[in-house]
Symmetry: C2
Subunit: 276 residues, 2 copies
């Protein structure tokens, strides 16, 4: 079985590394020649291509690990093997999938995916199969997918080290992701920006501030695109957060010990069971 991974950054690079030794014929497409050479030397790909047209046309599975808009460009300009599976790793699905399905060949099985993994740093050098270890994977099922292909995809991804593989509709995906991924990014950005810089902040922080602001160092182009195309769900999640935050504020203002402790017990209990 021929697999081509397009874009050997942190996620694409981790795919080729996690695939090594599993018995597939793996090829890589990337604009950077050095990256392709490195991946080939490490034995993670059989061959690398800057222009992937020929290879893509023969691949049984194409994993496109590019930014959302670049994935659409790639789909629009490539022909995929009839009956092959094409997947992506884009962080939002409803809007994106609608676009992708409108332009891809009808005889291709397009199964969108979301590995909930990553690194703060970019590029192949930071890719490793450890990136996928203990992470969650979401396989997106749309109305035209064949059940057996979805099942194959889940089994395929299951070999790569993920802790959990779940199937979801694009709408459910975008709703839960607005809460678990996008909302945390808005909180980190707002926290970092609400510093009045009266003090030399870095000298007065502990791990809580470090942890909560790590993702405030954010890729502006990518996240603007992700936020705008998932606006409704994101705004609903932000509203829910604001209501909770306001309840905490009221409890502190009124020194309402009972309510505050109830909130603390609730969040503690939920955090404990989160990954149990």
């Amino acid at each position: 079985m021929k697999i081509t991974v397009v874009g050997l950054g942190v996620i694409g690079g981790s795919f080729v590394k996690a695939l090594k030794g599993l018995g597939y014929e793996v090829y890589g497409v990337d604009c950077d020649l050095k990256t392709l050479e490195m991946a080939k030397e490490e034995g993670c790909i059989l061959e690398g291509y800057q222009d992937g047209h020929d290879m893509i046309a023969q691949s049984d599975l194409t994993i496109i690990c590019l930014y959302p808009s670049k994935v659409l460009d790639f789909i629009a300009t490539h022909h995929f093997k009839k009956g092959s599976i094409v997947t992506d790793v884009v962080g939002i699905k409803s809007y994106f999938l609608q676009q992708a399905l409108s332009m891809i060949d009808k005889d291709v099985e397009y199964i969108s995916g979301h590995p909930m993994a990553g690194r703060e740093k970019k590029g192949y050098l930071y890719a490793s199969k450890e990136v996928f270890a203990k992470a969650n994977y979401i396989v997106i099922q749309h109305q035209h997918n064949h059940q057996e292909k979805i099942e194959w995809m889940c089994q395929f991804v299951g070999q790569l080290g993920f802790k959990s593989v779940k199937i979801m509709s694009p709408y459910d995906h975008d709703e839960i992701i607005s809460f678990t991924s996008q909302l945390p990014h808005t909180l980190a950005v707002a926290l970092m920006n609400s510093d009045d810089e009266k003090y030399e902040t870095g000298k007065y922080i502990g791990d809580s501030f470090r942890d909560l602001t790590r993702i405030a160092n954010i890729n502006a182009d990518l996240w603007t695109e992700l936020f705008f195309h998932n606006k409704d769900y994101l705004l609903a999640s932000m509203d829910r957060f604001e209501k909770e935050f306001d309840q905490l504020k009221q409890a502190i203002m009124n020194e309402d010990e009972k309510t505050l402790k109830e909130k603390f017990l609730q969040s503690s209990k939920r955090r404990e069971k989160l990954e149990s």
Copy 2:
């Protein structure tokens, strides 16, 4: 020089471990006999006491590593050596210091302190000198402190592995801490509690959600006390955050790309320089 550490939990335990080999006579006070035995076996204390009255009366430095209200109880019921230094590790200072200074013997140098370090887990087993490595320490100077004692304290703490030691007034401490420590805790609690639990959340999270909710598992008694006694500064920090969060929300609602990207660039720049 005789040093007694009171309360050998994560912080107190880390003190005795970090002090090992530095040439001081170190003693421990704890209600748990097993903890005292362990610390003695490891050579971190010369002797352990469940009742510390005699030892405290001879100590040149007493480091009280108990919860805020317990520190006050301890001060009220013990006599310290004339001219000795007494310190604590309490997370808020203005209210607390006023109480402590009103009850401690006048011939004792009380220098409040705040090691911005810790672990999610409690107890001596999780203590280690690594807890202090790369962490920030704040030495609190009040109007009755002697300058040379404050300088000694900074030099003393500097030996224990902290990355930075800063001197602050209790008011400045409480203001900056309301932003760098207390606000992050309110955000984590509100984020965790704003989950509508429509999905099995733990299966759809990545590291961003994990990082932002780690401290949502919170000690309810301790943090209620810390929040209520620093109410004004905390509410001001919460207000500043809310304003920023609302600006993000407006930018998303209006698909105002320019403002959103400016916010992202600001937070990225600030996060990068935070500990540079």
